[in-house]
Amino acid sequence: MTEIRDFMLGEGSGTGSGQNLQLGVGPAHPAMHGIIRIQAELDGEFIRKADVEIGYLHRAFEKDCEVGGYNNAIPYTDRLNYVSPLINNFAYASAVEKLLGIEVTERCQYIRTVMAEISRVCDHLTCVGASAMELGAFTVFLYMIKAREFLWELVEDVTGARLTISYGRVGGVKADLPEGFAAKVTAAFKETREVLDEVHRLLTGNRIFMDRMVGVGALSRAETLGYAITGPLLRAVGVAYDVRRAQPHWAYDRVQFEVPTQTAGDNYARYLVRMAEMEQSMRIAEQALALMPGGPINVDFEGRPIDPAAYVDQGKQGKTEGLLLVPIRLSPNLQGQNRPAWEQVNAADKRVVLPPKETTYGSIEGLMNHFMLIMEGYGIRPPQGEAYFASEGANGELGFYVVSDGSDRPYRVRCRPPCLPPMAALHRMIEGEMIADMVPTFGSVNMIGGELDR
């Protein structure tokens, strides 16, 4: 037997021999959704020492941001946490707005809140589904991906894309919500709640699941704070810190929600926190949709509906007399006049927000405004200074620290990635535990390579 083990595992391996086995897990490993490498020192099946190596998905996000204008960084932020990209978009835009000292409109704040919460549910669904799958509960994974599909359809409706959404803008959002969005959200949440209920019945008291999760991967409260871990992992040790509650931004101070906590700090507590948070996120989104101020229907100053296409045609033919007197409040993408107004979702600040396309094509002022924001060397130019904006990402505090030198390009953009601290503490969670427990622990951390490695 000993010979076979030596042949399989390398000479002198196994308990009692005094020599530990070095095992490299990753960078590409079937049980690792994300590319990291864990160099583990095994004593039998127990991990004695682990070294976590990251950086395999480094794409120079921060360097790239310094090259283009302020809005050019928006697509890069999509690729940070690619499961909930909307939150990254909005957090970055809010950091630049803080630097500029502008306020976005009421309706935009509600839109940001709703879309961020839908993204958070997507993120938690993916995390719980994937970690359940790695423990053999493949059904749960399929159910949760089905629910996520409903939510991604909402995202698709609003942004036109599923993953690389680029929907946030400095000073607002790309476009208003589509018609009938609230009803679609209600339908999608109904499906999601059914799935969550099913999953709850499948997993929460499940013997196999609990055996693998309870007491595994635990971190103490002191260590969690020392490692600056935020989000569900911090709330799983009993600290009710949530940026949405502690420093309310967007519309979070106008909605009711709870910050669910657990005390055990193990994988099971993290699972419970995430499950409870999804319900709270849906609550927030529903309230925000109900409270959202409506935009006026687009009419001219005499109350007649304006046909945007005709308006643009007239402008192109030079028949601008009288047109400039009409306050144009049309949708930015010429899709029709009964959409709420561009001004409803964007800050009234010409230094920052592109004018609606009708104004660009219909008036010289709009055209000049457009060029001043697009041309090289112009664009959004915050005054010299620095600002740090924190928002609650799906994995914890997502911070953007932006430094401006007064030019049209950010001097420095720093993203505080919410899943870097738990990865820095991962070795503390897995050392002393069995190699098989590494999988659920890694799953509960919910590492997202895009934001971890940037």
Binding site: I54, D405, R416
Partner: protein, 165 residues
């Protein structure tokens, strides 16, 4: 504790070692001298009235091409602190020159400083004296230079490396 009081308390304790303070955009900021950096951080963490128990973020900025600061100290290492108990934030900054880009490590105060400082070393080439594990974090060992420095061209290519031997 209101923002002004925090900065006032630091000024009281450290006097001239506190180079500059401001609260622009509502972010409390204190620029300190390198010699007292660890003392400042320790006081911030341990004094009950301050209670900054979390090192939320640690990064650096290269001011090589910043208008008006081309001649000054090149790097600024930036600590973002947060207090769970008091729900307030503080930014502590320390300036270092290029030819003496060393800052004392904060690993003893917060274990997360280990990875954050590795990243700053990796990206900016600022060393942290006393760091227990001074390796690069994101780039690979064979990488030459520090990519977030302003004099590192964004389009520079480096040879592909094979597996470690």
């Amino acid at each position: 504790m209101p923002g002004g009081v925090i900065l006032e308390r630091l000024r009281e304790l450290f006097g001239p070692a506190l180079v500059e303070t401001h609260a622009r955009h509502g972010d409390l900021t204190a620029v300190v001298e390198r010699g007292v950096l660890l003392d400042v951080l320790r006081v911030c963490r341990d004094e009950p009235g301050l209670g900054f128990d979390v090192l939320m973020d640690l990064t650096a900025v290269d001011y090589l091409k910043y208008p008006g600061r081309e001649d000054g100290p090149r790097f600024e290492v930036v600590y973002h602190l947060y207090s769970m108990g008091h729900n307030h934030r503080l930014r502590v900054k320390v300036r270092v020159d290029e030819d003496d880009a060393v800052v004392p490590t904060a690993v003893e105060l917060w274990p997360i400083a280990n990875w954050f400082e590795r990243e700053v070393w990796d990206m900016f080439g600022v060393r942290f004296a006393g760091h227990p594990d001074p390796r690069r974090l994101l780039m690979y060992e064979q990488f030459v230079g520090h990519p977030l420095r302003k004099d590192y061209p964004i389009n520079r290519r480096q040879p592909l490396i094979g597996p470690k031997t």
